[in-house]
């Protein structure tokens, strides 16, 4: 177990190094000059060169990358080119919001997705099943921006049940979390449905039924624990999807997460922020997957970590 974790952590570190290298390289070859963004339109060539030297952007790629890594291992993500603040402070101030929304959204996804999946499996090939699967198809394909705005318009503007965007109270969290929950539930419901159908066909379920157990106990007590296994792995992957896809929902609901920060930084080639957010997201994805793998043996003792 310990050896497995250690091996996976080393693998993760290598993945992160790769992510850092590729991102840094892409930003390096980008046909745009961050120094011009800092120096502004009225700068003289001397000023531009001066800033380039101060930031070390006149150095060859490997030197720049080496310096960045050197800072990184000391926990230094650098200073934003344009805001001049520490990147770690900027990210730390926004990460809690993104994590909160992510946890709430995954909860909603599971609640909606799993209920739909179970119901569809039990009503297999009947109208309920078809209607639910159609719905899941729609939610998976629906554009985030439109659904977010629609939710905001109906529940906040027209009905006035929730605040129109923002952050701070539980009421602010409900709409973006449910929106993300609905949008992401399709994957879970489809997976849950097929997993449930497989399990319901197995011998031990037939035995449980033959014993005369109630339908609820068969489904929730016997079938669900086995059917849910593939879902656990999916949550790990979902964290990655969130890190990439939360930007739109954050921006519509005015949720002050790292998606917003990244978006602004990309517009202005603020390399330290782009690198920082990319790395933090990569860490979240890697850890999410690792966590899913580590949890699996506890739920299913047949799985052994090697």
């Amino acid at each position: 177990m310990l050896g497995y974790v250690l091996r996976r952590l080393i693998q993760s570190a290598l993945i992160l190094l790769g992510v850092a290298f590729i991102t840094f390289f892409l930003l390096f070859v980008l046909p745009a000059d961050p120094v011009r963004q800092i120096a502004g339109r009225s700068a003289t060539p001397e000023t531009v060169e001066n800033i380039r030297q101060q930031l070390g952007l006149d150095q060859p790629f490997l030197v720049q990358f080496g310096r960045y890594l050197g800072g990184l291992v000391q926990g230094d993500l650098g200073r934003s080119y344009l805001q001049k603040s520490e990147v770690s402070v900027l990210i730390a101030s926004r990460l809690p919001a993104t994590l909160l929304l992510m946890v709430a959204a995954i909860f909603c996804e599971l609640l909606i997705g799993l209920s739909m999946g179970i119901l569809a499996a039990l009503r297999r090939d009947r109208f309920t099943d078809q209607a639910l699967m159609m719905t899941s198809f729609v939610t998976v394909s629906a554009p985030q921006f439109v659904v977010s705005l629609l939710m905001l318009y109906v529940f906040a503007v027209k009905l006035g049940w929730f605040p129109i965007g923002g952050y701070g109270t539980f009421a602010h969290l409900v709409l973006p979390a449910i929106t993300l929950g609905i949008l992401g539930s399709g994957w879970y419901s489809r997976m849950m449905r097929s997993s449930m159908i497989d399990v319901m066909r197995t011998d031990y379920i037939r035995t449980a039924r033959a014993k005369g157990l109630s339908r609820t106990r068969v489904v929730l007590g016997h079938a669900l624990p086995n059917a849910i296994l593939p879902i656990i792995a999916m949550i790990g992957i979902d964290i990655g999807v969130f890190m990439g896809g939360i930007v739109v929902v954050e921006s519509v609901f005015g949720w002050p997460g790292i998606g917003q920060l990244a978006w602004q930084a990309i517009q202005r080639i603020d390399i330290p922020i782009i690198m920082g957010v990319t790395l933090i997201s990569a860490v979240a994805i890697v850890l999410g997957n690792l966590l899913a793998d580590l949890i699996a043996p506890f739920i299913d003792p047949r799985i052994k970590l090697k």
């Binding site: 980008l30 046909p31 745009a32 000059d33 961050p34 011009r36 963004q37 800092i38 120096a39 502004g40 339109r41 009225s42 700068a43 003289t44 060539p45 001397e46 000023t47 531009v48 001066n50 800033i51 101060q54 200073r79 344009l82 805001q83 001049k84 603040s85 520490e86 900027l90 101030s93 926004r94 919001a97 705005l149 905001l152 318009y153 906040a156 503007v157 129109i164 965007g165 923002g166 952050y167 701070g168 954050e250 921006s251 519509v252 609901f253 005015g254 949720w255 002050p256 997460g257 917003q260 920060l261 602004q264 517009q267 202005r268 080639i269």
Partner: protein
């Protein structure tokens, strides 16, 4: 010096024609109340030496003051932290008398040392100020930039309330330079205490002080009760909320939750808002010191021929381009916007004339037209504008392939000189200060034509550069009319050479809630975007 002091009154009287009268306060204005403004993006910085975008520009103006200022809602200079000033006869020395008893937000009194410290700081290379170049006429500037000095030789503290600034060349724009955000006075101890993060912990002398900044969420300004302009500002508090999509901001405005949507009216909703009388009543419209133009690279064929460039000027149906953006602009015929001093009102510009344009192309030896690239920024409405221009060019036989790229990439291509044509929208020139010279140097002068510069047409006319220097040497306020005439002539020569095709001048449309008071001009202030110091709650 004695002679100068004696003549202060005379000189001031001379400068007054260029400087309008003080602001007449709104009789209905009253103290108290709070306003809420929204933005999509968080503010990058509130450091006056660093902040250089349309969003933080007006915020910084309310937190800090410079020696000079503008009459609210206008482009007219007035005194700021300086109580009076005098200019030496050769125009090379400016002596500012500071107002006594002005206090920073931290309670300390502002003195001439702070003025010197602030100017040193903004020009010190380590500060990385994008505004450093504005101070190029101060004596000792080159040594600062070159790293051989850490203090501007030309800024001299005469006594605690007097500072003299010596210039290395006459600079008629110098009073404007003393009014831009970059020259705002900051307290040394607060800058040092912030340890490199002054932009997040600003301390100034301004009408408001910052009391809260939750990154990505909200920024709160509270009234500076010690403000040196007695009775101002009117509002007790201004709150900025971030992360609000323009369309969400509009919904919240309609709901009465916010007062001003900082990002304006979303383009997709513009027609709807203007068509609804209740909403239209909240709309405020104003001019911006902005020109949107097409640059043509004069160093490479086919745009090295003046006939071709003139043909492009005549081929563009500006009225239709303006329609594409719902009439949120007015057609332009010269580099300067109409509200800018020095604008040539009686100039007709190149008329829209397809046949004449075709004839010019034929004269240039290109009767069948040619193929070229038109670069444009990839955010709405710029690609749509580029398409309208593309169609107009097609009508005279020019096939323009649109290269729609991110802002930074267009700027890079423009600076490198690899873009034959660029539509400037989204990156276009908005004046730093209301003076005609501000539209020349970096974008039309020889200095800007260097690799990496903002003169994307690579237009370099040495005679015009000389004329520009001559015009900016006319720092005697009595000659201000002659100077504006000189600038007008310069821009007329630019139009003759046609490195640009000016297309339109932006009009700014914003909205305010029913409860907000104050003249419309304060909400579309040409200098401050929104002038928080003078708006009030009814």
């Amino acid at each position: 010096m004695k002679h100068l002091l004696a003549s202060t009154a005379v000189l001031l009287a001379l400068t007054l024609p260029a400087m309008a009268q003080e602001y007449t306060p709104d009789p209905a204005a009253k103290q108290g109340g709070a306003m809420v403004m929204t933005y999509k993006d968080d503010v990058a910085t509130l450091d006056p030496a660093i902040g250089y975008d349309w969003q933080n520009w007006s915020m910084i103006r309310s937190l800090f003051d410079g020696l000079m200022d503008y009459v609210p809602g206008t482009t007219d200079l007035r005194l700021g932290l300086a109580e009076s000033y005098e200019i030496s006869e050769d125009g090379l020395s400016y002596t500012f008398k500071l107002r006594p008893g002005v206090k920073f937000h931290n309670g300390r009194e502002m003195t001439a040392d702070d003025v010197k410290y602030s100017l040193d700081r903004v020009t010190l290379p380590a500060t990385q100020s994008p505004g450093s170049g504005f101070f190029g006429s101060i004596k000792g500037y080159d040594a600062m930039v070159g790293g051989t000095a850490t203090s501007l030789e030309g800024v001299v503290v005469v006594d605690p309330l007097t500072v003299r600034i010596d210039l290395s060349r006459p600079d008629a724009t110098f009073l404007h330079v003393m009014a831009i955000n970059f020259s705002a006075v900051v307290p040394k101890e607060a800058v040092e205490a912030a340890n490199g993060d002054f932009g997040k912990m600003p301390v100034g002398t301004g009408a408001f002080k910052m009391t809260e900044w939750t990154l990505g969420q909200r920024l709160v300004f509270a009234r500076n009760t010690d403000y040196w302009r007695a009775g101002e500002p009117y509002l007790d508090q201004v709150t900025f909320e971030f992360g609000q999509e323009p369309i969400v901001a509009l919904l919240r405005l309609q709901n009465g939750e916010i007062d001003v949507p900082g990002d304006g009216i979303p383009p997709a909703k513009f027609t709807e808002v203007m068509g609804d009388p209740a909403q239209k009543a909240r709309v405020v419209e104003g001019g911006v010191l902005h020109t949107g133009y097409i640059t043509m690279n004069v160093t490479a064929p086919p745009f090295d021929k003046v006939e071709v460039r003139r043909a492009v000027n005549m081929a563009i149906n500006k009225a239709r381009v303006v329609q594409v953006i719902n009439n949120r602009a007015v057609p332009a015929n010269q580099p300067l916007p109409p509200a800018m001093p020095g604008y040539t009102a009686d100039y007709a510009g190149y008329a829209y004339d397809v046949e004449a344009a075709k004839k010019l192309l034929a004269d240039a030896g290109l009767p069948d037209g040619f193929e070229t690239d038109l670069y444009a920024m990839n955010t709405d409405p710029n690609p749509r504008i580029a398409q309208a221009i593309q169609q107009d060019l097609a009508a005279i036989g020019i096939t323009a392939n649109i290269q729609s790229l991110a802002q930074a990439n267009v700027i890079e291509a423009g600076g490198a000189g690899t873009a034959p044509m660029i539509w400037s929208g989204g990156m276009a020139w908005v004046a730093d200060f209301p003076d005609p010279s501000n539209f020349y140097g970096p974008i039309l002068g020889c200095a800007g034509a260097e690799p990496g510069g903002w003169n994307w047409a690579k237009y370099c006319n040495a005679d015009l550069d000389k004329a520009a220097v001559a015009a900016d040497s006319m720092s005697d306020p009595a000659k201000s009319a002659d100077r504006l005439k000189a600038w007008s002539d310069i821009y007329m020569q630019v139009m003759e050479d046609a490195p640009w095709a000016p297309v339109f001048n932006d009009q700014r449309f914003t909205m305010k809630s029913d409860r907000m008071g104050g003249a419309d001009a304060l909400y579309v202030d040409p200098i401050a975007t929104v002038n928080f110091d003078y708006v009030y709650v009814k």
